[in-house]
């Protein structure tokens, strides 16, 4: 079985965020970066799948030079092959452009049975790249996956549980499939020292648009359909009233105030 994991480098969720107001995109330079937290679950699920069903894991990322760090981390954890899609033309791609580039890269990898993604990235927070990717590739689209029940590689089938509003849906799908996973599907492992040392020595192959056959007018800021026309900070929310006194009395006052809102029935 050939498994691809898509990994994105995102600004550290603790970091201060800076915007390029002209371009309407994040200023990624000089910001602390991490592997998108949701992608850690995707990576772990790929490793677990390989352990259980055998196969080969290819990790890919798209981003500037330093995005290579996330691939090194993936190598240290034990993926077999990595590719870094790195081309100035792809900077500022929207979800449509991103899913296009990833689809082209996955086609280049070839004979892929399963693609794992995190359910969303913590910078853009759209969650639409993986379903767009599935559609572009003509693969089954399995989102919000909370558990992989079984994979039948020979029969080309996969069964998963999806966490949707109000419950769990069990879905059977044909392989190949794009599976985007939720937090909690597994416990991501940490790399060990030997893995880190080995990964440090690997020459990471880079692909540009030409290498994957991606048309430059469909990617990057130029190829994006949505343009940021305005950036503002949300109206500040001011502190309200502090309720003080004996607990019994405070509870009484709060209950009265909340009932006055006529929401609680």
């Amino acid at each position: 079985m050939k498994i691809v994991v898509c990994i994105k480098q995102v600004p550290d969720t603790e970091a201060e965020v800076k915007w390029d107001l002209q371009k309407g995109t994040l200023k990624r330079e000089g910001m602390d970066s991490i592997t998108n937290p949701f992608d850690e679950f995707a990576l772990e699920e790929a490793l677990l799948t390989k352990e259980k069903y055998d196969g080969e894991i290819v990790a890919i990322t798209m981003g500037p030079d330093k995005a290579m760090d996330v691939l090194r981390n993936a190598l240290a954890l034990g993926v077999d092959q990595v590719y870094h899609i790195n081309d100035p033309a792809i900077a500022g791609s929207d979800t449509l452009g991103t899913s296009y580039v990833l689809a082209k890269a996955i086609e280049k990898v070839g004979n892929v049975d399963l693609v794992f993604c995190g359910k969303q990235a913590t910078d853009g927070n759209t969650g639409i790249v993986s379903p767009e990717l599935a559609t572009r590739l003509g693969f089954s689209q399995l989102t919000f996956v909370a558990k992989v029940d079984e994979i039948d590689a020979a029969g080309k089938k996969i069964k998963v549980q999806r966490g949707i509003e109000g419950g769990i849906e069990t879905v059977e799908a044909k392989l190949p499939a794009v599976v985007s996973v939720s937090k909690g599907i597994n416990e991501p492992r940490l790399p060990n020292l030997m893995g880190i040392r080995k990964a440090a020595k690997v020459q990471i192959p880079a692909w540009d648009c030409d290498a994957i056959g991606a048309a430059k007018d469909k990617v990057g800021t130029e190829g994006s359909h949505g343009k940021v026309v305005e950036l503002t900070t949300p109206p500040p929310r001011s502190a309200g009233e502090m309720l003080k006194g004996e607990m019994e009395e405070v509870a009484n006052v709060l209950v009265g105030k909340l009932l006055d809102l006529k929401v609680i029935k």
């Binding site: 879905v171 949505g226 502090m242 607990m247």
Partner: protein, 333 residues
């Protein structure tokens, strides 16, 4: 070349043919956009039998309902629904298409966007029409809610967006209003469908944070899973849902479905009660637009108090049971 795209379309989601009033909520936002543009708000629905849903969509204000019926469409699955939906959009050419930012809305809109090769704005918290270009302006929270970004797609049509639930007011239900129903056919062999839903099991505790009017959440300060029974008791008394901070989920006290915040759900209830939550910026990003926020925390310096409508410095273990008791009394429960 004159632009032939017109009207504002709203996707009506359902679960195995069953809708709730919330399924129709975007007909309100759609009407507002259509009125500004001088066009119509329409609905589209895909299902096994759509008559009832189409009629309801009319009652909620849709002028025209485009419907595709078929046995393949009993239960939502993205590939089948996206192919059917894309066929409607390609034929009737709407100007704007709106979906709810739910798992179904996100799945369908993304698959349709990739198929139609059009842009998709996600999780809008405001929609306007740009006066000059007549293009939709979509505002969403960017990077953990620290910024609001407004987007326009001047490149492709239809302009598509998912819209955060409960942001726009519900449209009125009026049985005197009826839609023109346009039935289209789209057939799909079962063998061609890539996915098949085998079963749905309702959570013992149905967690539907994004539609809840009242959420009672617990954080690190709750101290353990036992403490969450206190939090849950209040949520149950108020008919609300139970939420949690990332710290509580990562400690294994409650499952991930309950998590509110940057790596969990973004919610906008009418009342949000935070127990033992200090208010890390990642948590605030997920709940700061709630109408009324109540914070209960031992630490008077906790950042959550800076955005709370009502704050109580104290131990949730003492206060919350008192709240449960008093609400039960006053609500005659």
């Amino acid at each position: 070349m004159a632009d032939e795209h017109k009207d504002v379309w709203v996707y009506i989601e359902h679960k195995d043919g069953v809708t709730t009033p919330m399924s129709y909520e975007l007909l309100g936002a759609g009407k507002m956009l259509a009125d500004t543009l001088g066009s119509k708000v329409c609905a589209f629905v895909i299902g096994e039998k759509t008559e009832e849903i189409a009629k309801n969509a009319g009652n909620y204000g849709a002028a025209t309902v485009y419907a595709i019926d078929g046995a393949s469409f009993k239960t939502f699955r993205p590939d089948a629904f996206a192919k059917a939906g894309a066929s409607l959009v390609s034929k009737f050419k709407p100007d704007i298409v709106l979906y709810r930012a739910t798992t179904q809305g996100q799945d369908l809109s993304a698959a349709m966007a990739a198929q139609l090769e059009v842009g998709l704005g996600s999780d809008a918290i405001d929609l306007q029409i740009d006066a000059g270009s007549k293009t939709m302006k979509l505002t969403r929270a960017a990077f953990g809610g620290n910024f609001l970004a407004t987007y326009m797609n001047t490149r492709s049509k239809p302009q598509m967006a998912t819209v955060r639930p409960k942001v726009f007011p519900m449209p009125q239900h009026d049985t005197a209003k009826n839609a023109e129903i346009v039935k289209e056919s789209f057939s799909m062999a079962e063998d061609d469908a890539r996915t098949k839903v085998l079963q749905f099991s309702q959570s013992e505790v149905a967690v539907n944070l994004i539609e809840a009017d009242i959420i009672v959440s617990g954080g690190r300060g709750v101290g353990g899973s036992e403490g969450f029974s206190v939090v849950k008791a209040l949520a149950d008394t108020l008919g609300g849902a139970m939420g949690a901070s990332r710290a509580a989920v990562d400690s294994g006290w409650v499952p991930y479905e309950h998590q509110v915040g940057q790596t969990g759900k973004t919610v906008k209830p009418k009342i949000y009660i935070a127990c033992g939550i200090s208010g890390a910026i990642q948590h605030l990003a997920g709940m700061r637009t709630s109408d009324c926020i109540v914070a209960i925390n031992k630490d008077a310096e906790a950042p959550i108090f800076k955005i709370a409508s009502f704050g109580i410095v104290g131990d949730y273990k003492q206060i919350v049971p008192k709240l449960v008791e008093q609400f039960k009394q006053k609500l005659n429960k």
